[in-house]
Amino acid sequence: MLETLIIIFLATLLYMAIANRMRNYIKILVFQGILLFLVAAFHLKDFNIFNLVVILLETIVFKAAAVPYCLERIIRHNGITRETEPYLPNFISLLIVAGIVVGSILLSGSIDDLILDKFFFVGAVSAIFTGLYLIVSRRKILTHVVGYCVIENGVFILSLAVGNEMPALVNLGVMLDIFASVLILGIFANKIGDVFHDVDIDSLNKLKD
């Protein structure tokens, strides 16, 4: 079951490479949030109500609801066009993301480690690099925030792959920090929309030496 969920997660990354509309990105983020909840819930060794609440908060409430809701509002507030405006054609993006996934599989194959969960490791590394790729290959700054969220999803899976649970208080701190960063990025994306009338990375090129 866990393997199936990770494969579906990898498929969402491939879909991100070719998604043409901003709203599709947000729908994928919601879907990824739900997938992560299922993955984490199935992966729990010690199933108690406290763990479940923390995971529920982190994945469903935060990743699948709050962040997509913020992004949706920013799109509406700034009247952002539907197109994702990639620098490269979708076909090439698809090839690159597929290359990232294949590369992650090869990398995990070359690591000889008994503790590391290889399946999760592939999902995590693929998500981190796909997130980075989305950031460098898209023009709108909102897609950069989406890329950051994908990286964070990758980091979440990596923490499952490693299987070392942090103390609950530390986990809560990490979660709140990430949420606050996405919120701050969202607020500034909104400001950029208000000030520059164009939520585009090309308008942010005035600071030079």
């Binding site: 503790i115 070392n164 030496d209």
Partner: protein
């Protein structure tokens, strides 16, 4: 107990500052914050080695950086007050500024004292968020651009740090340890899986360079220090860089003495030399005073990182350098507010005749330049000399030659700009305004303090540095 009081007090003070629209109340809350900051520092110094709230330890490294930060936080709040009144900021933006400034200092404090890798991470992330509000203080297009870039680059970098922490936790799990306290790392140092430690160190180092100001992530920091109000820039260019160093040191101390150490030193050496090279190139053609100070900051952090690469002797020099750099660099940033009031510009070409326009300020600026350029009688001269000695003792003549050459070019570039501001005639007429010499006193104290530490380092400071160095092998 005191840590808990500190955290609760900071929380209340920040909330109070956000909602305060009265200058008197904000000043009172600022003084109260300095009180609790000093209380925590004194308490920590008296209870060295103790742990509070499970996640905060008063170890040598944390204490050195905490003491430095607390000393700098006094003039920071003083100059912030001057900054917000000349010209008068709106109560709303002053409230956000004051609250963010206090939050930034508190987050750095807890980041220094954290004894758990993930807790350091949490407070480093809080510094990014509070710094963002400081950088955006002017609400201008350029400030917005700088803020966006800073938050974004730091958010990605801090994610890298977290990935590194996860890899290190995997190495610890192989040793049967599921905790991530730095003491656990040190206890298992000899048997940690070298592959995961290498990967973990690489990610953590790359991530913390956003704060430390080294290649590859230094870019956003330069823009941030340029656009942030000068008193906040002083913190970003000194104490916040120290937090990056602290994060790297804590992981490096768990590596030093193991087979991974040589590799980690090579990574740091390459990053430091590339940074030094970039800083030299930019300094040679710089036209903006604040960016010049920002590039000088990354130059000094390269020297500090080089010190860390060359054994215990180099590390001791690096620690002295970090303490003195914090005082001198923040002093120079505080002084920038006077330059701005005189010329209403950041551009070096618009400046000149500073000695006539603000005689006492010009002398203090000259002393600041001598201090930061590490020319005798600057304290930084001694620490740089010790870093060079450590390089030579290690037989690294090539690194020594490259560093000495780049630092000489940097000195020339820096001197050219500062002498132009102080001695050469202004390119356009400048109206003389009255600036009280009292505003330069805090800078003077900081520069003299740095020189004193260089000439005669206090015994307790040396002892703390020796203790921090004992972690390295």
């Amino acid at each position: 107990m005191i840590t808990a009081i500190y955290l609760a007090a900071v929380f209340c003070i920040v909330i109070g500052l956000v909602f305060s629209r009265s200058r008197v109340l904000s000043d009172l809350l600022g003084v109260l914050f300095l009180g609790v900051q000093t209380l925590l520092t004194v308490h920590a110094m008296l209870h060295q080695g103790c742990t509070e709230l499970n996640y905060f330890s008063f170890d040598a490294m944390g204490l050195i950086l905490l003491l430095t930060l607390t000393i700098v936080s006094y003039p920071t709040l003083l100059h912030s007050r001057i900054y917000l009144t000349k010209p008068l900021s709106s109560p709303g933006s002053a409230a956000v500024y004051n609250a963010s400034c206090v939050l930034l200092i508190a987050a750095m404090t807890m980041g220094y004292l954290a004894n758990h890798a993930a807790v350091t991470w949490i407070f480093t992330e809080i510094t990014t968020l509070s710094a963002a509000m400081l950088i955006y203080h002017h609400r201008s297009k350029l400030a917005l651009e700088a803020t966006w870039k800073y938050v974004f680059v730091c958010a990605i970098s801090i994610s890298f740090v977290f990935v590194g922490i996860l890899f290190i936790s995997l190495a610890l799990l192989h040793d049967g340890c599921s905790e991530l306290f730095y003491t656990d790392l040190l206890a298992h140092k000899a048997t940690l899986n070298s592959f995961w430690m290498k990967l973990g160190f690489l990610f953590i180092f790359a991530g913390y360079t956003a704060k430390l100001g080294l290649f590859p992530m230094f870019t956003a920091g330069v823009d941030a220090k340029d656009k942030a109000p000068a008193p906040a820039g002083a913190l970003l260019a000194s104490a916040l860089m120290n937090l990056g160093f602290c994060g790297i040191y804590r992981v490096y101390s768990a590596i030093s003495g193991t087979p991974v150490a040589d590799w980690a030193r090579m990574v740091m050496l390459i990053a430091a030399l590339i940074t030094l090279f970039i800083a030299t190139i930019y300094m040679a053609r710089i036209s903006n005073v604040k960016r010049m100070l920002a590039y000088s900051g990354i130059e000094h952090m390269s020297v500090v990182t080089l010190g860390l690469c060359f054994g215990k002797a180099g590390f001791i020099a690096a620690m002295l350098h970090i303490v003195m750099h914090t005082f001198v660099k923040s002093g120079l940033f505080f002084h920038f507010t006077q330059l701005w009031r005189v010329y209403s510009s950041k551009m070096i070409d618009d400046m000149g005749d500073y000695l006539k326009l603000n005689p006492f300020g010009a002398l203090v600026l000259l002393l600041g330049f001598v201090s930061i350029a590490a020319v005798p009688p600057s304290g930084l001269f001694f620490s740089e000399l010790l870093v060079f000695k450590a390089m030579i003792a290690n037989g690294s003549w090539v690194v020594f030659a490259i560093t000495a050459f780049l630092l000489t070019v940097l000195l020339w570039a820096f001197a050219r700009s500062i002498f132009r501001i102080i001695f050469l005639p202004a390119t356009k007429p400048v109206e003389k305004i009255k600036i009280s010499p009292w505003e330069s006193v805090s800078q003077l104290i900081l520069f003299v303090l740095a020189a004193y530490i260089g000439f005669n380092p206090p015994a307790f400071l040396l002892e703390l540095i020796q203790q921090a160095a004992a972690m390295l092998q």
